[in-house]
């Protein structure tokens, strides 16, 4: 090294070092984007625990038909989760929503302009979609939909919103993994609704929650790989 005046950043660079600096800095800029590991991890846990709770609870309340003797009328005792299970599920989902919002707002703070505007519009799209969904569910209940139909409708409509929003986000930001997750959630929601109660909750917990957690793991692997590549370049 010719001089230590490099501390003011004006030290000449060789091309390889320049390229490495650029790559390292571009990796660092990921700090202003939401971290997929956090978001997928949080939602994976919320779904896994929440839906498992609903499943276990609905098995308990729907226990009679499981006692082999299928009497007349027994078949319409479809296991419905108990109120405490719904409360636990709601708590987990609200917690996940709160963590998501805080995480994203912290990450993108201090950045404004075109992408901030896209992000805000995208965020509002979630609220608007879920508000509209609540109105649809209210309408279905008023029209006399029974608890089983309401359970199927509320779960499938929520998942439709989530899945389609992921597709939109994946398309907008060219985030292939987000898009793939959206496709997966839509398929899982469709399959779970066909399966019906109470196994719907098991499908949602394992395939839905599992899907999120798998994607969180993929994000982590890719992150480590990038970091290792950058570190490797620094040694060369």
């Amino acid at each position: 090294m010719t001089s230590l005046s490099g501390s003011n950043g004006d030290r000449p660079l060789d091309p390889a070092e320049s390229l490495r600096l650029i790559a390292a800095q571009q990796e660092k800029v990921k700090d202003v984007e939401p971290d997929g590991r956090v978001l997928y991890g949080v939602w994976g846990l919320a779904w896994l625990l929440g839906y498992t709770t609903l499943y276990v609870s609905s098995l308990r309340s729907g226990a009679p038909p499981a006692t082999a003797t299928l009497e007349i009328g027994a078949s319409d005792v479809v296991g419905q989760p108990e109120p405490w299970a719904f409360l636990a599920f709601t708590f987990l989902v609200v917690g996940a929503v709160a963590i998501t919002i805080v995480h994203i707002m912290t990450r993108v703070s201090g950045v404004r302009g075109a992408s901030a505007r896209s992000g805000a519009l995208y965020g509002w799209a979630w609220f608007i979609s879920f508000a509209a969904m609540s109105m649809v569910l209210g309408g279905l209940a008023r029209a006399g939909a029974n608890p089983e139909v309401m359970s199927l409708a509320s779960n499938s409509l929520s998942c439709l919103v989530v899945g389609i929003m992921y597709l939109a986000g994946g398309a907008m930001w060219q985030e292939t993994r987000l898009y793939v997750l959206g496709v997966w959630i839509l398929l899982v929601a469709g399959a779970a609704t066909i399966v019906g109660l109470p196994d719907l909750y098991l499908v949602m917990a394992v395939a839905g929650g599992g899907g999120f957690l798998l994607m969180a793991f993929v994000e982590q692997v890719l992150r480590v790989r990038t970091r290792r590549r950058l570190a490797g370049g620094a040694r060369a």
């Binding site: 490099g6 003011n8 950043g9 004006d10 030290r11 000449p12 660079l13 091309p15 390889a16 320049s18 390229l19 600096l21 650029i22 800095q25 571009q26 660092k28 800029v29 700090d31 202003v32 703070s109 201090g110 950045v111 404004r112 302009g113 075109a114 992408s115 901030a116």
Partner: protein
């Protein structure tokens, strides 16, 4: 060795890192000074100095504004700065290819 000139405004560690950071944001995005400072792990004074040089070259725009009562400074890469960075990275690749052959 191919005859490639590297833009001296960008070809210095600190300014290269500033420009690389700004170019990684979306076109038309601005970033608050403290946030940029954190991403670069530079002192405020040092960052200001380099931003001034980049501003003189019309590679970045520094916008001073108010958020409520607090003054805030936002920095963005100009189209000219973005082009200069693209040309710079292309030149680097050419140099590296030239060095390899």
């Amino acid at each position: 060795m191919p005859d490639v000139e590297l833009d001296p405004v960008i070809h210095a560690q600190a300014r290269l890192r500033v420009v690389a950071t700004l170019s990684a944001l979306g076109a038309g995005d601005q970033i608050a000074f403290p946030r940029l400072q954190k991403l670069l792990e530079m002192t405020a004074g040092n960052l200001s100095t380099h931003l001034r040089k980049l501003e003189d070259a019309e590679y970045v725009t520094v916008t001073k504004t108010h958020e409520g009562r607090t003054p805030a400074t936002y920095i963005s890469l100009t189209p000219r700065g973005r082009r200069a960075f693209e040309v710079y990275t292309e030149s680097l690749s050419m140099l590296l290819r030239g060095a390899g052959s």
